[in-house]
Symmetry: C2
């Protein structure tokens, strides 16, 4: 084949296939970076044909992923949290729609594990990374600096060069969600509100709490009537339980509680039930998350619903943009007020 | 180095390191099959030294995993099921204890996806596979035939040569668990029992239902008083809800219900609550699974507790046995009666 000869008419995968004597499906895989199943000479031959014939990938976003596999790795913390499962399920379905597969790793919000999984997945040449609930770690800093294809969800990129332009990110306005929870409790007559946070908060829980407190203050609740409890616990279930113990021991107790996650609210509920406190009759409880499970077994719980099921196609759309060499805009999705 | 010369004294990793001029940690990685970071000549040199010096891996079970990575892939269906999350979490922790990492793929109980993930993980050279909720598929048949390192959990190997010796498997006696549920409902005065199954059952749900029916029959319940409902649904939540609609429409309704999974019971509960039927006062509901979440937000639910948290270290122990070249014995764990 002569170099630098432009083919007549549009160059398709079929053109490359005909020119190299290789099947279209093989050409397609190699063009998309799935080189594992072909011999090195075949890969080289096809890549040369692509260049000399001037082939451009189609506009639907087939990316030249440069030797990466079609496995995309999602890193998250706490698989036991139904929120994590919802995001994982939605994203995995969206990835399969574009011919990729997803694999999930649990970092337990630990620096060492996050770095370990980033490295393990990198040595597997995965096609991209999705970080749900990331934390700062040397490995992540390195990934961001080297421009690895990473989309962040829930918690934004802690190493974003410009915090106002966080790049590939899917989440909600947590501060506004906290404020919306305050409005809902206020509308139910709550005038001695309480908000429960985990002791080791993340930017998500901190912003939800901040929004709630800001709004309650705007609504006229004085600081000494706004209870803010941070409780320890291996899981948010324990956090809610411990905090409820503190709150309901006080006299008078709160007349409305925000748990910044569903699981915190579940923990409050267990304590209340054990003490004969009726939720919501004695004390309404509201949470932010609004997992589907609530409707089935937690009818007592009011929730600000976060559209986690929609995170999936946004995450995948942003990954595709990155593969095309673009910088996606962050997607801040509306929660249901 | 002379071939076939046995070294004086025990041959350790240090011996290999000294003989090849390579660091002990590099020798250790290569001996354990983690060859990704070393050059092919180094790998060959070390493997030759291992052979000529007669090095044997230590007895704690360091396996020669022959070029596989230390990533272990777990394949499961339905990440939204808290049971799956419990098994995943426990297994992942046990894998990290032995220096491995785990990655999780959702097969949705689909043949094509199960095969796709098996293949994707195989092309990544993962160190082992854990199949939770497997189904028959050509790819799985092939894996079993080729002796890939696979441990089965919950549902046994559908291609086991000898069904009475299922090999690497961790699960419970589902038939006995169903029978235990029958005993519990009977003890609560139930004489018009009902059992709810998903329309597309697995060996797990079929055996649980079979054990329940067998025991109720032994206890003297005539067939026309034992209601067996199979309901359709995308999830077990929907199954329970649909089945409850059928059951509570009948006159008289059941005076005790077994949902063969927690989520089926949650579905029953939602329907009952909507209809003003009190659980357990009007109709006790029992399930098999006994997820931790029940204690927090489903105090109305009685449960046969399956020790999913203990599956992890059994699964990993069996994987280590396979790596040592042994055939592990199945572990049938006791449920809490």
């Amino acid at each position: 084949m002569e170099k630098s000869r432009k083919a007549a008419g549009p160059v398709s995968l079929a053109t490359i296939a005909a020119a190299t004597g290789v099947s279209i499906s093989t050409v397609s895989r190699i063009v998309n970076g799935q080189t594992h199943r072909a011999s090195p000479e075949t890969v080289t031959r096809i890549q040369q044909a692509v260049e000399s014939l001037g082939y451009k990938p189609n506009q639907i976003g087939r990316a030249l992923k440069q030797g990466r596999s079609r496995v995309v790795a999602m890193l998250t913390a706490n698989l036991n949290n139904p929120v994590m499962a919802m995001i994982a399920t939605a994203t995995e379905a969206a990835l399969r729609d574009i011919g990729h597969v997803m694999t999930l790793c649990d970092t337990h919000d630990r620096e060492d594990l996050q770095d370990e999984y980033l490295q393990a997945m990198r040595s597997q040449s995965v096609g991209g990374y999705i970080l749900v609930t990331n934390i700062k770690s040397p490995g992540l800093a390195d990934f961001v600096a080297r421009g690895e294809p990473v989309v962040f969800a829930c918690r934004p990129n802690p190493y974003a060069a410009d915090p106002d332009a966080p790049g590939a990110f899917v989440g909600i306005d947590n501060e506004a969600a906290g404020a919306a929870a305050a409005d809902r409790l206020w509308a139910r007559g709550c005038r001695s509100p309480a908000v429960i946070m985990p002791l080791e908060g993340s930017v998500v829980t901190l912003e939800r709490e901040a929004g709630f407190c800001r709004r309650m203050t705007e609504l006229g609740i004085p600081p000494d009537r706004l209870a803010r409890v941070k409780a320890p616990g291996l899981s948010h279930l324990d956090v809610g339980y411990a905090a409820a113990g503190t709150l309901f021991a006080g006299r008078p107790g709160p007349d409305g509680i925000l748990g910044v996650s569903d699981q915190i609210a579940y923990g409050v509920y267990r304590f209340a039930m054990e003490q004969g406190i009726r939720i919501p009759d004695d004390c309404p409880v509201i949470s932010i998350d609004g997992s589907d499970l609530n409707g089935w077994i937690a009818p007592w719980l009011d929730s600000i619903h976060v559209p986690y099921a929609e995170f999936g196609h946004h995450i995948v759309g942003q990954l595709q943009a990155i593969w095309r060499g673009e910088t996606p805009e962050a997607a801040i999705l509306p929660f249901h007020d």
